[in-house]
Every structure is written in structure tokens, then in C-alpha cells.
Symmetry: C2
Subunit: 199 residues, 2 copies
């Protein structure tokens, strides 16, 4: 016996989401059906509304419902530092520490030859244009993930900006706070030693 | 910094779903925003459509898009056995084994004094009516979950149907196939011994 068509359709759509297998999709679907109809409508509406109104900031590439985004148009932020990240989620992660008050540039991807993603496929050209148009920028912090693709992208950006003379920095790699030295992998430990600072 | 409003709203709605915490809701939301707009619309539409069209079968209480449901209106099924289950998911679980060809009755709940749920709060009265109207029924199989509430509900149904003279049976409890005897809990082991059958 098959699920009734509308239920089967909903389960199918839910199971397309990342980390949602068929079993979880079924559980979610039955839960949604048990909700009052106005609540399930609100869930559906929020998906439609967000998909319709959220777009990429034409300046920094972050996800936003206004263009330019809230960060780009906030003149109280430091206008001379740009932090380059891979995704809008990374912007939120850095914003949560409440310690960085500069601007961002969101690549919306990372250079990955293995996946056929080159420098022209990510939001990088607009960074160059931005740096050319805005001569106030004194530092570009590259905060891509510390993995092969993130490191390669960081190196690429550093080389690309070299002629401009703008200072390009990379976030530190090392043992995470609360982490365990003996459980750290070799590369992390090596980076932690290399990046040691005087006390 | 807060999420832009439409994104925050979607994350909020998603995190109301069972097993979806704030982090997972964020991940799902960003994934939905990365989908082509027609695909996210299809997800939203499937939720609206299912919530609008799915209802409970007036005969057996199963979730269905037609009334009576596909099982109740399938005359090729055995019309003299009713299997009582807690939820529509249980119907699907039994249907998957492709071995039971009788009818169902879905309680959509279980008697649980602790949660203030009594016999009149679940879809039980309609079972009595159904048995009175349909004198062909020769057996009622009670397949509620083997936990305190499920067992209590099973006992209640057995006592309720006693005067009618209809045979009431309970699904077997024991060691699951592929399970490990030494890891089974005491009650399961006890039930497995009690329910032993001759080889």
C-alpha cells in the first residue's frame, strides 16, 4: 500500500532536504498533518516568503532582504576592513562573537578543482571591483574554512591581491579552546606550534 | 546582528518541528534558500496541499485523502478481521510486511491517565459502533505499542469487547529477529518465555 498522494508528495519533498532521510521525512510529515491548519500554512508561507524576498547583496554577496544588506549600509561599522568568508552562515557565526565590526565579503562557494569550481564561479571578481572602487580598505581578512579548498582559496586571494599592496591576513589555526591537545590531529598541532605567540 | 526577518521567520517555523533544533533549522533554511525558487515553492505547496486534503477516515480513523479510505473501501481485503493500532504510521508499518490483508482501526492516540487521555479521547467509540453495525467481524487484533500505555489500552479494549464474544488477540512480544538474547531486557525475556511455541 502506498501513502495517499498528497502525503506521499509532502514526504518526497521533505526528504530532499539535507540530513532528512525517508524515515525522518515521514515523521515530520505526520507531525505537520497533526498541526492546526493555520500553523502548517504559516510554515509553508514562511518558506515561500523567504524564497521570494531573500537575495544576495549586490555589494558583499551576503543573503539579505534589502540591497545593499544591513551590514554594507551600516556606516557605523569600520569601513576599512573586509572579512572574506565562504557563506552567509559564516557571517552569522562571526557576528555572534560580537567582536568584529568591519565589513564582509561572501564568496558563496570555494575554489574546488575537484568539483569543477574555479575562481570565476565564486563571488570573487566583485571583491576586486570593490577594492578598486573603495581605496579606504587597509586589510582583507581571509576567513575561509581551514580545509584543502578553503586554504587553496585563501592562497589564491592572497596572490590576487598582492599587487594592490593591501594587507591580506588569515585567521589563526590551532587547538580550539576547550579542546584536548592529545586528541588534536597532527596538522592542527603543527599549525598551533607555528602560530605560537609570546606570553 | 539578527537574521533578516523572512529568514528568521522561516528558521523559527522550521525549528518548531520535532527533532529540528535551531542549528538544524538554520541549515535547512539556508539550503531552502539555495534551491531554485520553483523547488522551494513545490515544498511549500506540498505542505499546504497535504494539510488541506488529508483527513481522518470516518470509518477507521486512518489518515486519508478520500473518505472512506483506500483500505476501508477495498472489498478484496478480508472483511472479518480488524487490526487496532495507535497511529496511521502503524498502519503503514504493518502494510509494509505485506502479510496482513484485513481491515484496520486507528485509535489516533492511546489511553494515558498520566497525560489526562482517557478512553473517550481516542478513536475507540467508533470501533464499538463499527463492530455493532458489522456482525461479520470475527477477530480484533490489538497491535498497540508494547509499553505501559499500549498495554493498558489493549487490556481496556479486551475488557470492552468481552461481552460481544468477538475474539480479541494481542500481537506477540518477544526477542526481535536479529536481536541479542543477552541484551534483551527482563520483561521482554519474560514475555518471550511465556509466549514460547512448540517446534
Amino acid at each position: 500500500m502506498q501513502y495517499p498522494k498528497p502525503l506521499g508528495k509532502m514526504i518526497g519533498e521533505l526528504s530532499k532536504l539535507p540530513g532528512i532521510g525517508n524515515k525522518t521525512a515521514q515523521r515530520l510529515a505526520f507531525h505537520i498533518l497533526s498541526m492546526p491548519q493555520n500553523e502548517s500554512a504559516e510554515l509553508a508561507e514562511s518558506i515561500l516568503e523567504a524564497s521570494r524576498t531573500m537575495k544576495y547583496c549586490s555589494c558583499c554577496g551576503n543573503l539579505t532582504d534589502s540591497d545593499p544588506c544591513a551590514i554594507c549600509s551600516d556606516k557605523s561599522r569600520k569601513q576599512d576592513v573586509i572579512c572574506v568568508v565562504e557563506s552567509p552562515q559564516d557571517v552569522m557565526a562571526i557576528e555572534r562573537i560580537n567582536d568584529y565590526h568591519g565589513l564582509y565579503h561572501v564568496l558563496n562557494g570555494v575554489i574546488s578543482p575537484r568539483d569543477g569550481i574555479g575562481a570565476e564561479d565564486i563571488n570573487l571578481r566583485s571583491l576586486i571591483v570593490r577594492l578598486q572602487e573603495n581605496t579606504d580598505i587597509s586589510e582583507v581578512i581571509v576567513a575561509t574554512d581551514p580545509n584543502i579548498e578553503g586554504e587553496a582559496t585563501a592562497m589564491y586571494i592572497a596572490r590576487l591581491l598582492k599587487p594592490s599592496g593591501i594587507k591580506v591576513t588569515r585567521i589563526a589555526h590551532g587547538i580550539p579552546i576547550g579542546g584536548d591537545l592529545e586528541l588534536a590531529d597532527e596538522v592542527t598541532l603543527q599549525k598551533a606550534l607555528e602560530g605560537r605567540t609570546e606570553l
